[in-house]
């Protein structure tokens, strides 16, 4: 049951403007040039440490069973094959394709739920004066400090009383209660000039109309960031789905992957194929929308 990692205070909604810590001088001295080269070497070395395990995972998924366990390990398959994918996708005991669909359904539904409920709740907290506002906002902020562990056991009971055990709704709804989204959206709404809403209000639109037709379009970048973070978190969530989903056909990919591991302890070709299937969507999403994800993360640390 991990929710998106909270940010305790004042996250700003504006993107950081890159500023050189050491401003460039007119021409590079030899010392600076050497330092630049050393930096590049260090950066590339670290990058290799980060990338090579992922490359090896991808490569292994195209190996035969024997090749995947050969000593010494090879970076290039003796023979490129789709056997591993065919095996796990076709197996009734490990329905990887079903897990994939379950993960997509859960992640998309959770993300939509988070974006809708958090932005609706954040709007009055940013823009309206009403009794009880401080109490509500205080309570929401306070739970950012509550470690999720105390929610796991009672939430299991609640989910079970609701009849949601072993059903996808258990991994869609409870995690949407996290406070981070409300907080992020409130900060963003505060940064939008009130004057932009005024025009619409004076044209006779009510609060909800104004919210939908003026505020939300302006908040698109924040909505995208929040939606993405929720999507990633839900897609990767592990502890909660492992315990609340127990039939093979309702599991999500991370939970399924652990089943795959215990069922095929030494079939690394199969495990790597499963890992590739579980990571390909998020890696592709990350490559495409890197800016939003990285910005969301840097905003989750308090700025200033």
């Amino acid at each position: 049951m991990t929710t998106v990692r909270p940010a305790p205070a004042g996250a700003t909604a504006t993107s950081p403007t890159p500023v050189d810590a050491v401003p460039k001088r007119r021409s590079l001295s030899p010392g600076q040039r050497v330092r630049g080269i050393l930096r590049m070497i260090a950066l590339i070395a670290i990058a290799l440490v980060f990338i090579s395990p992922l490359v090896f995972m991808l490569v292994t998924s195209f190996k035969t069973r024997a090749d995947a366990t050969s000593v010494p390990p090879s970076w290039i398959p003796e023979e490129w094959t789709l056997q591993a994918y065919q095996t796990i996708l076709g197996s009734a005991s490990t329905p990887v394709f079903t897990w994939f669909l379950n993960s997509v359904t859960a992640a998309v539904a959770n993300s939509v739920l988070v974006v809708i409920t958090a932005s609706l709740a954040a709007y009055p907290l940013a823009r309206m004066q009403f009794r009880g506002k401080n109490l509500v906002f205080g309570a929401i902020i306070a739970t950012l400090l509550v470690p999720p562990v105390i929610l796991v056991i009672p939430n299991y009971l609640i989910v079970s009383e609701l009849g949601w055990l072993n059903s996808l709704i258990a991994v869609i709804v409870p995690t949407a209660a996290g406070a981070f989204g409300v907080f992020l959206m409130r900060q963003f709404f505060l940064s939008i000039p009130v004057e932009l809403e005024e025009a619409s209000r004076l044209d006779g639109a009510n609060r909800f109309r104004t919210f939908v037709s003026v505020v939300l379009p302006l908040a698109k970048p924040a909505l995208a960031t929040l939606g993405l973070l929720a999507l990633l978190t839900n897609w990767n969530d592990f502890l909660w789905p492992v315990y609340v989903l127990f039939s093979p056909d309702v599991q999500t990919l991370p939970a399924g992957l652990s089943t795959l591991q215990s069922a095929n302890a030494v079939r690394y070709d199969l495990l790597m194929a499963g890992a590739v299937i579980a990571s390909a969507p998020v890696i592709l999403l990350f490559i495409a929308l890197q800016r939003f994800i990285v910005e969301g993360v840097s905003q989750s640390g308090i700025k200033g």
Partner: protein, 319 residues
Amino acid sequence: MSQTTLPTRAGALAETSAPARRLRDHGRATPWLFLAPYLLLFTGFVIIPVVLGLWMSLHQWDYTLPLKPFVGLDNYIDLFTPGSTTSGIFWQAMQATAIFTVSSVPFLLVIPLLVALLMNAKFPGRNFFRAVYFAPYVLGVAVVAVLWRYLLDNNIGLVNYYLGLLGLPDDTAWLTSTPAAWVALVGVTVWWTLGFNAIIYLAALQDIPVELYEAARMDGAGRWQQFLNVTLPGLRPILTFVTINTLIASANMFGQSYLMTQGGPGRETRTAIYQIAETGLRNFQMGDAAAMSYILTLFLIGLSVVVFWLFRERRGARK
């Protein structure tokens, strides 16, 4: 106030109404209608659980049995009574959590800072490197653990193979012996989550005004002195956040143990969260598990308070 270029009619009208008034022109129920969907979730899955968990911890709450008698503080007392059925496993798990936290947090605070410093300048491909270092973080723990189980396999894994090539011992049982298992769990976690802290540091570094560095250089400060007198003080607010966030994340470690070592070799790497989940959700002794989670929570809150206090102290005692 209204310096925006609104249509004249709206602009003129906006000026006539007081700013305080125009915030209030909504029905009494309006804010609550906006809040309702979220508050429903919040109440059902945060507020009620916090109270319910406390309630459960005061009962002999076995999920599978019909009777859940009130036992007062017995579940808690058991946890603090040496030799009881729950105290041994719980404190061993707490110890595992402590070992993991103490050994991973320093790396997760320092290495990402070094990486961020390395990246905090303009050079070709900066965004590419930033993305590469962050990439493992977008993978779930399930993928990370399964992948590293393979790479750390004693016989066929890449890690032992390369150690052998370097002339180092090449038969370490990374996942089935201690302390090697701890090295593996910490190493994998650092690899996986380093990018998260690095990005936060980088954002904070870029917010430090360039003029401060210039001023320091005017005063004849070298690179190291600039780091001590400009960079570190500039990072202080973010350091509190990063430290607490990292401590809590480490203290919540679960998936790495569950998937890589199965808590083994014996129970040595079974962390507190792992034990709470097994006690409550596998063995259905939910009263005991709830008591365990409240004790762990108290530890975490205490730890956060200590961190806040430490960072506040140093601000006064700054050189």
